[in-house]
């Protein structure tokens, strides 16, 4: 077998053609990346997704798919949606704290204007 097969073709146990759609994004030195993406999305779906994208955006697409696949493997119920939920909660908490602090500032400033030192 060609030792220069990309990680995807190695995983799929097939020949890696010159124009392999996966090879720019799945180097042979990182087999886990493709394995994780394949587990969640499947090679066929990833190939279709990449084919529908302009070449210059495919690297970013692979990285985001890899991230989401990894999240899903680590949290099979919520995947990266769990992170979104956390961030939304954090935003609400920080907004509440900010509003409270701004109210305290307004009260302190009002006190000062009533009782200038």
């Amino acid at each position: 077998m060609n030792p220069k097969r990309c990680a995807a073709c190695k995983y799929l146990r097939r020949r890696c053609p010159k124009d392999c759609i996966f090879s720019p994004y799945f180097p042979p030195g990182d087999p886990d990346k493709f394995a994780c993406i394949h587990r969640i999305y499947g090679a066929g779906n990833v190939s279709k997704m990449l084919q529908q994208l302009p070449v210059q955006t495919r690297a970013e697409a692979v990285e985001s798919l890899s991230f989401e696949a990894k999240c899903r493997v680590e949290d099979p119920v919520y995947g990266c949606v769990g992170i979104i939920s956390l961030l939304q909660t954090e935003i609400q908490k920080t907004q509440t704290l900010l509003a409270r602090t701004q109210a305290e500032i307004a009260v302190a400033q009002a006190k000062h204007s009533q009782n200038p030192s």
Binding site: R39, I40, Y41, G42, G44, N45, M49, Q52, L53, T57, E60, A61, E63, S64, L65, S66, F67, E68, K70, C71, R72, E74, D75, P76, V77, Y78, G79, C80, V81, G82, I83, I84, S85, L86, L87, Q88, T89, E90, I91, K93, T94, Q95, L97, L98, T101, Q102, E104, I105, A108, Q109, K111, H112, S117
Partner: protein, 188 residues
């Protein structure tokens, strides 16, 4: 489980197969919402979804399906970044709010230090005793530390450092993951 004579679930309708009594998709993909399964099938594939659901206890499958539908919708809306784009946007919001909060907390600290009732003369403004200073700084530091701890948890970053002002989706992907909390509400 389906009753006798009921129509096939949305999955089996799309896959053009008989909807078995114990169809794994039927509880989560009712026939009146064909789009829900169509989009999950487009992004993940029916067999992958089936495998994922089979590996989960029954009481967690509804949440898993909802999160898969959410991710699939995000990926169709943004084929390059999917949910990572949403995470990037929210992370930027958190950063902005953190900065505003830090400014506001600094302002309140300044106001407290300027208008301490114990200080009567101009000179005393600059002569807070150690206990007063420690109290003011400690209470402010606690607020900021609590805020940062929550921020770190939300970001699931082990380094504990704030990101730059406008985190790109690429930098989100560099994040390490810890255990996310249960979701409460999602965008509709």
């Amino acid at each position: 489980m389906r009753g006798p004579g009921s129509s096939p679930c949305a999955s089996c309708k799309l896959l053009r197969r008989r909807c078995a009594k114990e169809c794994i998709f039927a509880p989560y993909f009712p026939p009146d919402d064909p789009h829900k399964f169509a989009i999950v099938h487009k992004v993940f594939g029916a067999s992958n979804v089936s495998k994922m659901l089979q590996e989960l206890p029954v009481h967690q499958r509804a949440d898993a399906v909802n999160s898969l539908v959410f991710e699939a919708n995000a990926r169709v809306r943004d084929p390059v970044y999917g949910c990572v784009g949403a995470i990037s946007y929210l992370q930027n919001q958190v950063t902005q709010l953190q900065m505003q909060l830090a400014v506001a907390q600094t302002e309140i600290l300044c106001i407290q230090m300027q208008h301490e009732p114990a200080l009567q003369s101009h000179h005393e403004v600059f002569e807070l005793d150690q206990d007063d200073k420690a109290h003011l700084l400690h209470s402010n530091n606690n607020s900021i530390n609590n805020c940062n701890n929550n921020y770190n948890l939300a970001y699931a970053m082990s380094s504990g450092q704030l990101n730059s002002n406008f985190a790109s989706p690429s930098s989100i992907i560099q994040m390490q993951m810890q255990d996310p909390l249960k979701q409460e509400s999602l965008w509709t």
